[in-house]
Amino acid sequence: MAEFMRGYIDRYTGSAKAGDFSWFAQRITGLCLILILIFHMFINHWGSLWPSAMMWFMMHAMFKKVFYVVFALFLVYHGMNGVFYVFDDYIRTAGWRTTLKLVFGITGVVYFWVAFIAIVP
């Protein structure tokens, strides 16, 4: 490789630099969140529109818990991943990027934990 290309090879090689998983997961969780949100509206707010679903949900507490844990998990992942994208796009200093990702990452984990203990017991 010519001398002028020095520095370019490292930038685009190495599997750790991919980002395909977060891109794909962002779209999948986004899609699932829309469906979950619609279902949530039916069982909590628009019960009269689909009474059988609401009744079934009320009678199966375990399913309801799993549903809302998944909801919280997808919500936190989608939100945090989106915020990380914004940091990657707009924060140019590597140090600041890492710091902000760390702060928001911890906030996300705490948020999910709070949601978990509110839903599960």
């Binding site: 002028f4 090879i9 930038r11 090689t13 991919a18 980002g19």
Partner: protein, 240 residues
Amino acid sequence: MTLNVGDKVIFKVFRYNPEKDEAPYFQDYEVEIRRRGMMVLDGLNQIRWEQDGTLAYRRSCREGVCGSDGMNICGVNTTSCMAHIEDYNTTTLTIKPLPGFPVIKDLVVDFTDFFNKYFMVKPYLIERIPPPEKERLQSVEDRAKLDGLYECILCGCCSSSCPFYWSDKDYLGPSAMLNAARFVFDSRDDGKGERLDIVNNKHGVWRCHTVLNCITACPKELNPTKAIAMLQHEILKRKW
């Protein structure tokens, strides 16, 4: 707007000579319409040859093949040899260098990084078998898959119009990735895997946020966003 022979238009041209000027500025030039359908490049030539020999810009083939005269005209990137003065519907055309590239002088920008990123995606046929005696044959259907990919003239208009190319200095950009796709989807090529490994990068295909500016900017009417989506699809298909 119809411009007739003898009409005058103003070219408001970005000027900057880093060796002399403290800051860039705009200079107005009067350009005379000497024939119907005059291109912006004809106007720039008129300025340089008859009014101000210090104006710097790149040009070569003057017919949309060499890709050397990419610039920003009235806010849109294009090649000046493919831009009719009349089409801008104004008598004052603002002409700037391609955004996002370092300015060398006036409308001439530094393409080093752009070409390094182009070379990075290995823009040539990679074959694992010895070359055939005659040409490498390809079916009509396989050849048709390259339409919309092989026509790129490397003018840089697309990459320069992309906000993520401006903000992320490592982003490969639409042009490099369209050229990666040109070889990834070539039935004669054996380098698909190594090229996908390179563009499968957070500064590669995953940095594209489908702003779509590149499509508007491309003077050859190519679709780099679609090429990037095809690469994303190929990477996901390979992995899952």
